[in-house]
């Protein structure tokens, strides 16, 4: 992994850290390099430490590591926060003209660039971060032309003057380092390729998947880290005949989405844990009224307000069991950014095919991480739409009772009833959260209650048989050591395999995207000597589920610091976990 370059910019929130990082990531992507980004941010608008990190390589990268090669530090805290990851060869770009005197460890290369005054020379102090990007290009030998392209993309809409000023700022940064330092690119050779990559994060992939799947209506309430799904859809879904409503609260959001879904649109809402709590009552209604609805939970640290800008996978139990009474639901959890796209499309298909709520469970790390992919990874020609048992004018008659009333909740062998959307002649019917008969009308009759409960549960059995609830697999399929994971940990695990292999440890990794219904892992666990379940929560919610399914104790690796797993850290944790006793 010699090709790896790890770059970061850090400062206070409000310093433009995020957009600067994004511009550099885009420049690297334009140069045909792979990029993996991560963000440290605090829950405040201005002030507080914030950083944007990029790992880049010509090979695919899908994890963060404990190493920083180039750091643009706008504050001392940026240096202090990253001391662990800085090494003897690291270069730190800072502005010595600013009031703080940077304390930089002697072994590192301090690159003092007058960011602010050079930015002013180019047309405005606001461009100081761009000066730093120019300096970073010079230090690493990365062609500044790619940065120009990214600047055009970023500022093109604001007029050519702004674009030119920014390019000039980058150039001044580059020249300053050239003239004042003799670094010889610190030995870096930032190779470029002709590959065309796209760069996007998990929430963008979910939004894109929703539009691809025919989602036309979205209602949501702003909440970190789900909001960017709504931001993505707003301004794009209209081009496809859809609309986004920013609702007054989460209760409203899910009920609006329910209304749209009942009238035949593919509809979605997205939120994070606290918002899911508010939606839970309606979640039961969605299930009993058998309305196809996709509910996305982008998990963050809980409980309560927890750590809103930090990573966690703590909502699994809520997704599996949340709500009063017993409610069949599907829970799908993408394991990578491309899977965010494809699993969103699947979620819409499951929702309509089985007329159930589908929880699409993502997490903060995936939502804010940008990663490069070949565009074919999102090939729209591969998108398939299954609208399930939608009846029209021609076949509605089959589902009428002797009085000509539509049996919207007809008891069927597969548990799936016909679905007539408003406007369908003779399809008029009521649906309700009350227990109901085949016509959707309230009942407390014992037999009818049991029939409807069984019918709804039978959908899950049908789905178990009809769909492939497979898992993704990495590493050595015959290894004695089995590691099981869900959600965004997959990338770090896959890279951890390389470290483990170097140490002579063979591991089979199973990454599970379907949490309910889910694959039966009994055989895989039986075949292994050791099973470890990796997840970002304290109690091991998925490990509990697996122990319940397989009736075997498993080992657990849990991280709940609020920060995602890193590849090297996971390799160490797996190594030491393997030597531990299996819990009794």
């Amino acid at each position: 992994m010699a090709e790896d370059l790890n770059w970061a910019i850090g400062g206070e929130a409000g310093d433009g850290i995020d957009s600067t990082g994004k511009i550099f990531a885009q420049a690297l992507s334009r140069a045909g390099r792979h990029v993996f980004t991560s963000k440290d941010f605090a829950s405040r608008i201005r002030g507080g430490y914030t950083a944007y990190k990029i790992r880049t390589s010509v090979d695919q990268v899908q994890s963060v590591v404990d190493r920083l090669d180039i750091l643009v530090a706008l504050t001392q805290r940026t240096i202090d926060e990253n001391l662990d990851e800085l090494h003897d060869g690291s270069a730190i770009i800072y502005d010595g003209e600013r009031s703080w005197e940077a304390e930089i460890p002697e072994e590192m290369t301090a690159v003092d660039v007058p960011l602010k005054s050079l930015a002013e020379d180019a047309g405005g102090a606001i461009m100081r971060n761009i000066v730093a990007l120019g300096a970073a290009c010079e230090i690493t030998g990365f062609d500044v032309e790619y940065l120009d392209e990214a600047l055009e993309k970023r500022f093109g809409g604001k007029g050519s003057k702004i674009v030119e000023n920014n390019k000039e700022a980058a150039r001044l940064g580059q020249e300053y380092v050239q003239e004042n330092y003799d670094l010889d690119h610190l030995g870096y050779d930032v190779e470029t390729t002709d590959n065309d990559y796209v760069l996007l994060n998990g929430n963008e992939a979910i939004g894109m998947g929703a539009i691809a799947a025919g989602c036309r209506f979205y209602a949501g309430y702003p909440i970190t880290p789900a909001t960017s799904i709504m931001e993505y859809l707003t301004g794009r879904i209209e081009d496809y005949g859809g609309h986004v409503v920013q609702a007054e609260d989460e209760l409203s959001a899910i009920n609006m989405a329910l209304g749209a879904a009942r009238s035949g649109a593919r509809a979605m809402t997205a939120t994070s844990g606290a918002g899911i709590d508010l939606m839970t009552e309606t979640f039961g209604l969605v299930a009993t009224s058998e309305t196809p609805l996709v509910i996305t939970d982008v998990q963050r640290s809980g409980p309560s307000t927890g750590m809103p800008t930090k990573q966690e996978q703590g909502d699994l139990n809520m997704a599996l069991y949340g709500g009063h009474g017993e409610v069949p639901r599907f829970v799908v959890a993408p394991t990578s950014i491309t899977e965010c796209f494809w699993k969103t499309i699947e979620a819409f298909n499951y929702a309509e095919k089985y007329q159930t709520p589908v929880f699409l469970v993502s997490d903060l790390a995936m939502s804010v991480t940008e990663q490069t992919f070949p565009p074919e990874a999102f090939d729209m020609d591969d998108v398939e739409i299954d609208r399930g048992k939608l009846v029209g004018e021609d076949d509605v008659d089959e589902w009428l009772d002797e009085q000509g009333r539509f049996r919207a909740h007809a008891v069927t062998d597969d548990g799936i009833s016909p679905r007539a959307i408003p406007g369908t002649t003779d399809g008029a019917h009521m649906s309700t959260g009350l227990e109901h008969d085949e016509l959707g009308r309230r009942t407390e009759e014992e037999d009818e209650r049991v029939q409807q409960v069984d019918k709804r549960n039978r959908k899950v059995e049908t789905a178990r048989n009809e769909e492939d609830w497979e898992y993704r697999e990495f590493g050595d399929p015959d290894a004695d050591n089995l590691v099981i994971s869900w959600g965004s940990n997959e990338g770090a695990l896959v890279e951890a395999l390389e470290y483990l292999e170097d140490d002579g440890i063979d591991v089979r990794v199973i990454s599970v995207p379907y949490l309910f219904p889910r694959p039966d892992l009994s055989e895989e666990i039986d075949a292994a000597d050791e099973t470890i379940v990796v997840e970002c929560n304290a109690n091991g919610q998925f490990a509990d589920v697996i122990e319940h399914d397989v009736l075997t104790r498993v080992k657990r690796i849990n991280k709940y610091t609020g920060v995602r797993f890193k590849a090297d850290e996971l390799a160490d944790a797996i190594t030491s976990k393997l030597s531990e006793e299996v819990p009794a």
Binding site: R262, T282, R387
Partner: protein, 287 residues
Amino acid sequence: MSSDVRFTDFKSDKQPTWCPGCGDFGTMNGMMKALANTGNDPDNTFVVAGIGCSGKIGTYMHSYALHGVHGRALPVGTGVKMARPDLEVMVAGGDGDGYSIGAGHFVHAVRRNVDMSYVVMDNRIYGLTKGQASPTSRSDFETSTTPEGPKQPPVNPLALALASGASFIAQSFASDALRHEEIVQEAIEHDGFGFVNVFSPCVTFNDVDTYDYFRDSLVDLQEEDHDPNDYEAAKKVILDSEKEYQGVMYQDENSVPYHEQHGVTEDMSDIPDGAPDGAMDLVREFY
């Protein structure tokens, strides 16, 4: 829509379980007649209701309908109308459903001006939970949970609507069948959020706000030369705490409904077999 629709086509074959004499019978009859009068039929009509006595209406009417959770009928109606601007959307609620648990949604549905009619059966008490104070109960109204009265002023739903920027505000009385039907019809015909607060007496638990009380005290704005397009006149009537009025208090004739403001005209239920045309543009945007 067929021209030979009769109001009984909107009737289901379920017998209401409302108490004999309940105001909700008259309220519902007027709703069904108004729907038929305006050329709608059960197949293009979506009725949404929440929980409580009012929430039962979807069972007794025949149309596409959803009986949802307490207080959330208006968001459901909003979702229906946005996805299907071609449908006639009517939302039914009660005073607890609409002005207590759903008060937030009321304010926002009003200010969005979603093109639907909202009929609230206001009996100034919680009936289905057997007689507790509601948001519109008088401050001295004694109930099981307020033995000395709520000791707080009732919500004035008309004023709440006006303050939220309503484009249509009306009030009717379940027992004045013809006027109630006319007023609901005007709410349906209004381009935007047609709000009607209906005095719908609870004969079991409310012995103050009775049929006789409304019959004796109700002033009909039609006989008062009231101009509903006159905002100041509407304000005066709505804030008048001395009298009870029926009729259309306020109507903004320039009202533009939410879906039109947002350029939503398409039927969102109709989607292509695969990804929409040009969907690869969404991917290329990330170059």
